[in-house]
């Protein structure tokens, strides 16, 4: 009984505590850079699309809200022909970002994307692509990959020997 009264007293004292409420539209919350909000597609330091259309984000997505089609330019560089995220299904779990091997897909601290019509939540590549490297500046996947996609020639990447001369008999 006394503990009940104590509880009531302690709760009553909360009347004079500082309130946790943030008065949202006037007052904004500070979001950490890792905050999982709107999904964007970033670009390489040289301005090329980072997304190589590997489909890993789509496979990782637990609600299957990412659909894309990979295609290639004449130099063999892969990029998505279309890239669609249905944000009306997205649960902002961030698995796509974790799965992305090229840092292309990133979740950013922005949640203000309310819409009156569900169709407006279907984002195409043009809506997703931003002109920035996002959270991982300086990374260029094709510099570390083995294939030549017009970014670097065979053997010119990081940690690559020049191409083998197969006609050589030297050991």
């Amino acid at each position: 009984m006394l503990t009940h009264l104590r509880t009531m007293w302690l709760v009553f004292l909360h009347l004079f505590h500082k309130k946790a409420t943030i008065q949202y539209p006037e007052e904004k919350i500070r979001l950490a850079p890792r905050w999982r909000g709107r999904i964007v597609l970033t670009k390489d330091p040289d301005g090329g699309e980072r997304c190589v259309g590997c489909y890993l984000c789509a496979a990782a997505c637990p609600v299957d809200c990412i659909a894309l089609q990979a295609t290639e330019d004449e130099k063999g560089r892969r990029y998505p022909e279309f890239f669609r995220i249905n944000f009306s299904r997205c649960i902002f779990c961030g698995y796509c970002e974790e799965a992305c091997p090229t840092y292309a897909i990133q979740l950013i601290p922005d949640f203000e994307m309310g819409e009156y019509a569900r169709e407006n939540l279907v984002f195409e590549k043009e809506d997703l692509l931003i002109d920035s490297e996002g959270k991982y500046p300086g990374y260029n996947y094709y510099k570390v990959a083995g294939l030549d996609a017009g970014v670097k020639a065979k053997g010119e990447g990081e940690k690559e020997d020049p191409p083998v001369d197969i006609h050589s008999l030297l050991p």
Partner: protein
């Protein structure tokens, strides 16, 4: 008093009560929020007071739906009973000297009778809904009401003994020197606990118990029918607060710098606040715990209180 005065009093009381009940929507939500370190509704109107209007309008515009499997007429009647019975109870409350709707000499008994009628709304509402959660809620409500009705009545008998009357005006008048809280502390505590149970407010909201029964007896209600239950509950809070004040805290009595009506209102509002604080702080007991507490703790206590009060009263009178 003239007939017109009576009518004015009735209308005044009705107006004030219904407004208070509606205003409690805002009061409760703001207070709960503050006790939970939030702000609560603060957008509509000054301090958010217009949330009352918004909520009321919302309730009015909701689809007034009667489930096809419900017992239609009983279903419609149930919410009316709760509001009706509680409003009837207010008839005997003396808000101030001469501000009373009906100064009955069996006032207290009338109050007990009316508050017992309230159980019908729960039982009928739950039964008519034809839904197993509603029925379970109604069953719990009925047994809870029956159990706590007993202690409520008995806990007041001490006051009646000391006053020697069931008339509310007389009870208030008898506290001129000493409020009954001093002579009847146990009676007050038991009455207040029983009052919470009667209004099935937290922590004794067992007939509704969202987490177990979804919403208990009013699970199938919507729109203004649900609103009636809602208002009935707030009226119940006001009633029990007003009764507590009248029976144990000297009613409208108080130092003369404020008029009696104000004293009455101040005291009542404090108890309403206590109701809300209880909701903010205490968890709901289990159903069996509630019943056990009633029959095994409160009943012996209230009987002991009655015996001792009776003995003392007889001794003093000798």
């Amino acid at each position: 008093m003239t007939i017109m005065q009576h009518i004015w009093i009735v209308l005044g009381v009705l107006f004030v009560l219904l407004n208070v009940a509606a205003g409690l929507i805002w009061v409760e939500r703001r207070l709960l929020a503050l006790w939970q370190d939030r702000l609560g509704p603060n957008r509509a109107g000054p301090l958010g007071i217009l949330i009352v209007l918004a909520d009321t309008l919302k309730l009015f515009f909701k689809e007034d739906w009667i489930p096809p499997f419900a017992d239609k007429w009983v279903f419609i009647t149930a919410p009316a009973i709760v509001v009706g019975s509680v409003l009837m109870s207010f008839v005997i409350i003396p808000f101030a000297p001469s501000v009373v709707v009906a100064d009955l000499n069996v006032g207290l008994l009338f109050f007990l009778a009316m508050s017992s009628l309230g159980v019908y709304s729960i039982v009928l509402g739950g039964w008519a809904s034809n839904n197993k959660y509603a029925l379970l809620g109604a069953l719990r409500g009925a047994s809870q009401m029956i159990a706590y009705e007993v202690f409520m009545g008995l806990s007041l008998m001490g006051v009646v003994m000391l006053t020697g009357s069931f008339n509310m005006g007389a009870i208030v008048a008898a506290q001129k020197d000493r409020w009954f809280i001093v002579t009847q502390p146990l009676g007050f505590i038991i009455f207040f606990i029983a009052g919470i149970a009667e209004t099935h407010r937290l922590p004794f909201d067992i007939p509704e118990a969202e987490s177990e029964l979804i919403a208990g007896y009013h699970a199938e209600y919507s729109g203004m029918k649900f609103g009636m239950f809602f208002i009935g509950e707030y009226l119940g809070i006001t009633l029990i607060s007003a009764m507590t004040v009248t029976l144990f805290f000297g009613g409208w009595l108080g130092p003369a710098f404020l008029p009696p009506l104000v004293w009455f209102i101040v005291k009542t509002v404090a108890f309403i606040g206590l109701f809300i604080l209880l909701r903010a702080s205490l968890p709901r007991p289990r159903y069996d715990q509630l019943m056990e507490y009633g029959w095994k703790v409160l009943l012996p206590l209230v009987l002991a209180n009655l015996l001792i009060t009776g003995a003392i009263a007889l001794w003093i009178r000798k």
